[in-house]
Amino acid sequence: MQQMSWLTQLGLLLIGAALVQNILLTRFIALCSFFGISNSMKTSVGMSLAVIFVMVMASSATWIFYYAVLKPLGVGEFLYIPAFILVIAGLVQFVEMYLRKYVPTLYRAMGIYLPLITTNCAVLAAATESVKPGFFKMNMPYNFSFVQAVVYTLGVALGYGFALLCFTALRERLDVAPTLRSLKGAPMSFIAAGLLSLGYIGLGSLFGL
C-alpha cells in the first residue's frame, strides 16, 4: 500500500463508508427504517438528521468507553455488544432530555426518531465497527484511532441519509406514477430499492478502492 497523507486517508474513509460500502444499499443493514419511513420526504429528513446526530455521538462514546473501560478490564472481546447497547441507550436518553430542555427546535425537528433509533441496527453496527473494523474491507489500519472512528461513522451516517433521501424521492414519484395495480405500493418499493442497490455496485470500484 502506498503511503497516503492522513487527510487523504480520512477522505477515502468517509467516501468509502458513505458510498462504496453504503450501509443500506450495499450491506443491507437497517432496512427496517429504510422501508418504514421512506414514504414521505418530511419524515426522511428528520430521520436522516437524527441518524447522523446519534450515530456520530454514540460511536464516539463507545470508542472512548471501549478503550478506557472494557479493554483494560480484559472483557472487551465478549462484552462489547451488551455494553454498547447500554451506553448508547443511556446516552440517547440523556441527549433527548438535554435537547428538550435547551434546544426545543432541534428536539421537535428530530421528533420521535431520536428515541426510536436507540436500538437501530445501523447505530450499533457503526459503533461496533469503530472498534472492530472487521468486515469493512479496505486498505486501512485494523484499529481505528478516535478521529478515524468518528470520520468513519460520519461517513456511514451520511451514506444512510443520502440513500434514504434518494429512495424517498423515488417512492414519492412512484406513488403518483401509473404503475401496475398488482405492483402498487410495497412490491414497487422493493423493486425500486433493488434497482437503486444495483446502482451502488457501480460505486464499488470508485477511485479503484
Partner: protein
Amino acid sequence: MDWALIVKAGLALAGIGILIAVLLSTAARKFHVDVDERVEQILGVLPGANCGACGNPSCFGAAEAMAAERIPVTSCVAGGQDVASGVAHVLGQDTPSVETVVSVRHCGGGTNASRSFAYSGATSCNVVAKLSGGDLKCPAGCFGYGDCVKACPFDAMSLDERNLPVIDLAKCTGCGICIAECPRSGSGLLELVTDEGAVVVRCSSHDRPKERKAYCSMCCIACKKCEKACPADAIHVIDLNAVVDFAKCTACGQCVAVCPQSCIDITGRLALASAASIDGCGSKVEGFVPLETKEPVAAGVRDDAS
C-alpha cells in the same frame, strides 16, 4: 472456568448500569420541562383524524399551537363549532362562533357524460387524467373513479350508481382533502361552501352550451331561467355557468323547479333538515338519465327538489 473474568464482566455491566441510572435520574431532575397539561386536554377534544386542514401536521401539533395561542381555537376545520367550543372551554376563553363549510360536487354527469375512449386501467382519476386529458369528453366533469372517496378521512363520500361521488353532509367536515386529491380541482369540480348553502349547480363547465350538450345530458345550458325565476337575485349565469350567491339565497327552491336540465339541486344541512337523504340528485335514481335519451329530466321528479 475463569471466575475472575466473570466477576469482572459482571461488575463492568453492573457498574455501567448504575452509572447510567444515576446520570439519567440526575438529568431527569435537572432538565425537567413543564408540559402544558392543557395540550392533552385539547387533544382529547380534537377529532384526531390528523387531516391537516388547519395547517398543522397533526392534531397534536394543532393542540400545542392552540395551547400556546399561536393559532385561534376556531382553527380546526374538521371539528367545527363543537370542537371550537370545547377548546375554548379548556383554554378558558369565550365560546366563538364558527362558520362551517362542506364540500359540494359541481357535476351531474357521471354515466350521463360521454367518454372519448374506453378506459380499463387503474381505477384512479389522477391516473386517467394523465392519459391525454382523460376519457371524459367534458373538460370539467367528474371522472368518477373515486380518488376523493378513497382520500376522505371521515368516510363521508361514496360513489353512487352513476359513478359520481356523493357527499354525506352529516359526515363531511370541510377539511378539503377531496379537493386536494381531485385532478379537476382547477375547474372547481369540488368546492367548499357554507353548510347553510341551500342549492348547488351540478355543472362546472364553461364551454359553449351547444358543445356541452353534445357530451353531457346533465349540464347547465346557461339559459338564465334560474336567474329570472330567483326572487332574491341570488343566482346568476357567469361565464356560461350558473353561480349561487349564498349571502342572498333564501332557499326557496324556485331555481331548482325551473331548471330544464335538472342541474340545480337542493343541498345543505339546513335545507335538508332530515339529514338522511343528502346529496340531492346525485343520490337519486330518478335523476338518472341514460346516455342514449338526451331528453332533459322534468323538474320535480326528485323527491327533495320541491
